[in-house]
């Protein structure tokens, strides 16, 4: 970079000018130089756009929640024992599953904002209703559902009509879960539907669905209450919650499957 006035304008001067590192007294010269060379000016416009994209793309990373290992206190045990992450196949699978949730739902950021208010009420109230309904009915031995999977068409038609939105019972056989059936419920917002699924070992998960007309779509969100975990989101006028007594990764894969089935 040349600091004396009157010196020829170099590539370095142009970058320094763009980065605010060029001495004030040389600005006019650099700007004159650029004005006389449209191609050069275009190139630096592109560099400027790059810098904006750099901030737009990576900037939001600063708001991502930190993993526990990066949150204080750091000095637990002086030996510095810590579980080192190694790329075991299992971990990669787990990471892939979490990524799928991101891909299906849209990660973080701006599009989570819509949960508060809106036609379906707050997300916290919604997922609390879903978890409560889950707890009540998964333990039911004789009457876990009102309408069984053998009448799936009737079940889906009936619930769609009561919720005022076309509903589907997603296939979760890929995750080892088959539809048991469903029931109509009511909560503070009006009608809601619950679909129950069961795997070969008799473990049950439920989908809880409530109309959310007019409320914006959201990405996946996660809630936990005791041993029960839930992923919930809003999509296309319906609020969904997938609830189960499963680990987060398994449940997220199921939630992803549900979302995928509804959007295929």
């Amino acid at each position: 970079m040349n600091t004396e006035p009157g010196a020829p304008v170099t590539e370095a001067d142009l970058h320094a000018w763009m980065d605010g590192e060029l001495p004030e007294e040389r600005h006019a010269e650099v700007e004159r130089h650029l004005a006389g060379d449209p191609e050069l000016a275009r190139r630096f416009e592109r560099y400027r756009a790059q810098r904006a994209l750099l901030n737009g793309a990576f900037g939001p990373l600063i708001d991502r929640p930190l993993p526990a290992a990066l949150a204080p206190p750091y000095s637990r045990g002086r030996e510095g024992v810590r579980p080192r992450r190694r790329l075991s196949p299992l971990r990669m699978l787990a990471a892939a599953a979490v990524l799928l949730v991101f891909l299906a739902g849209g990660a973080g950021g701006w599009w989570l904002r819509g949960w508060t208010g809106g036609a379906a009420g707050g997300g916290a109230a919604f997922v609390a209703d879903a978890v409560a309904a889950h707890r009540v009915f998964v333990v039911e031995v004789r009457h876990p559902v009102e309408v069984g999977a053998d009448q799936e068409e009737h079940l889906v038609g009936w619930l769609s009509k009561r919720l005022g939105k076309p509903l589907r019972a997603p296939r979760l056989a890929g995750q080892g879960y088959d539809l048991v059936g469903g029931r109509l419920l009511s909560d503070a917002q009006g009608p809601a539907a619950q679909l129950m699924y069961q795997d070969a070992a008799g473990r049950r998960i439920t989908l809880y669905i409530r109309p959310a007309t007019g409320a914006p779509d959201t990405s996946f969100r996660f809630a936990q209450n005791g041993n029960v975990q839930a992923f919930y989101w809003r999509d296309n006028g319906l609020a969904w919650a997938v609830t189960g007594d499963l680990d987060r990764v398994t449940l997220s894969a199921i939630a992803e499957e549900v979302y995928g089935a509804l959007n295929s």
């Binding site: 170099t10 370095a12 790059q50 600063i62 599009w111």
Partner: protein, 183 residues
């Protein structure tokens, strides 16, 4: 009239840096590490190593106001030595696609642009990525970036010019403008 009370002691700058001060820098370090390494899991390992190393060496930091740059240079050195180590072990399968992840946290209208940008950015050399991030994202001056990277200021400037031109061609196509000698 009583004499004016002496102002409270300013924080002594030779106090060793505490955990809280480091913790406050962690989100920024992690952002830089993720953009540099191209994925969040490697970034988390890097940042974790960086925190450990910083805590172990905290007495060597003379001026607490330089904590941010000091942490960045520790991270940079860890990254460079990690690269050497990884090169010996051969390439690893990427755990996640940061481009897709970042695109999804952008507004729908910007997604394609963000994804393309991150992909192009990931094709740059580590050196080029580092210099673009330090000056463009972290807002460091040429001199500060030179300190973090442990190179002369002139090297920062020529790397920056080449990195920008490389990235322009990766994004827009065309041929690379032979960036004239920068000094």
């Amino acid at each position: 009239m009583p004499p004016p009370k002496p102002p409270p002691d300013p924080p002594r700058s030779n106090d060793p840096v505490d955990e809280r001060a480091i913790a406050a820098q962690v989100p920024r370090l992690r952002r830089y590490a993720a953009a540099l390494a191209g994925n969040l899991s490697d970034a988390d390992d890097l940042v974790q190593d960086c925190i450990e190393k910083a805590l172990a060496n905290r007495h060597t930091l003379r001026d607490v106001s330089r904590l941010g740059g000091w942490l960045l240079s520790i991270l940079h050195n860890l990254h460079v030595s990690g690269l050497r180590w990884r090169r010996r072990r051969g390439p690893e399968v990427p755990v996640e696609d940061l481009a897709d992840d970042l695109a999804l946290s952008a507004a729908p209208a910007d997604r394609a642009e963000v994804r393309d940008f991150v992909r192009a950015f990931n094709r740059l050399s580590e050196e080029h990525r580092a210099v673009l991030l330090l000056t463009g994202l972290e807002g460091l001056s040429y001199r500060e970036a030179a300190e973090v990277l442990g190179v002369p200021v002139g090297t920062v400037m020529s790397r920056l010019a080449r990195a920008r031109e490389r990235l322009r061609v990766l994004m827009d196509g065309g041929t690379e403008q032979a960036v004239r000698r920068v000094k």
